[in-house]
Symmetry: C2
Subunit: 188 residues, 2 copies
Amino acid sequence: MPLVTRDREATGERILAAAGELFAEHGYDQVTVRMIASAAGANVALVNRYFGSKANLFATVLITASTVTAAIEGDLARLPARLAEHVAHRLRTGASEPLVRMLDRAGTSPEIRAVLTARVETGLVDAISARLPGPQARERALLATVIILGAGSLRRLLGPDGLHDADPAVLQARLETAFRACLAPAAD
Amino acid sequence: MPLVTRDREATGERILAAAGELFAEHGYDQVTVRMIASAAGANVALVNRYFGSKANLFATVLITASTVTAAIEGDLARLPARLAEHVAHRLRTGASEPLVRMLDRAGTSPEIRAVLTARVETGLVDAISARLPGPQARERALLATVIILGAGSLRRLLGPDGLHDADPAVLQARLETAFRACLAPAAD
DNA sequence: CACCAGAGTAAACAAGCGTATACTTGAAAA
DNA sequence: TTTTCAAGTATACGCTTGTTTACTCTGGTG
């Protein structure tokens, strides 16, 4: 039995998986192809060989990276509740929401920004907006997106201990109210 | 009249000012000391000579960099309105809120994160929290901070044209409702 | 005028990055 | 067994980064 399996597809998968975790955890800029290769147990050169470039690998990773999607779909009446739960859970546990994490950790390379922007537009704003009946759907979706993104920023900023003295239940309840305020068909 | 004034203090000021603008615009990681020096019309070596290190320069910049402060202070009843106006204005025009910009553009260097965390804690969360009477003040302040940060992320992500089809008045009105939901003494 | 502390400069340093190249190895085909 | 070709490897290239060192220049002072 060979120490390393000579299997291009499997190796590619390992690289993709490792890249996904690392990008979500540390952001595009802070992750090096050497880190990815090391985590995947593959050689540095294979990353570029199989995915062309680091940026291209990032784009590939991004295609299949989101967990909010589940919260957006489902019963419309409970949409604010589900979003609140999702965000509160993320604030509390730091659970991985790869898309959001990559977003506010990404650098400012135009190439990377473009793929991220497209992803937020379709994966968050458009996805939420499409679910909302009534006028001002886009505005309402944008504000919900603001909260989703903001929670990511705050959590990343304050870290695991930054929220320890805040009551999770309170946060979630108030988040739901806030989401409701953003998403309601009529303002006020 | 000499082409360059040999004035340590003035040069230091120019470097500080240039660093402030560049950090706010492009984030810590994307700004190089050479960019700062060039923008300030100074030599590369002076940046490190006068401020010790890039990280230290960043910390120095951060001390005097915030414009939300004004919105936080003043009549408590109108606090949600002022915050909503501030955030809406920022969404619409991309107006500079240096602290927020640097936040979600900063890299993940522990050193940089620490100084940013401290700044958000004192400049946003604590500042807002201190103004709120009643229970759950910290939770309420945290959620308001979420919106403030999230708006920065969204604006940066979508760019100047990303919001062109959203009605600014609608955004502001809904933001105010959302802030009210977050900040209200009692949930629901 | 001569001097000199110190502002400003040029150049190089070591380290790290993404990427490319030339090589080695192993397993399947002949 | 021998051949062969792609998977995997080792290594180095070219570049950029933050930082430091040794130097030049200048304006105020005696």
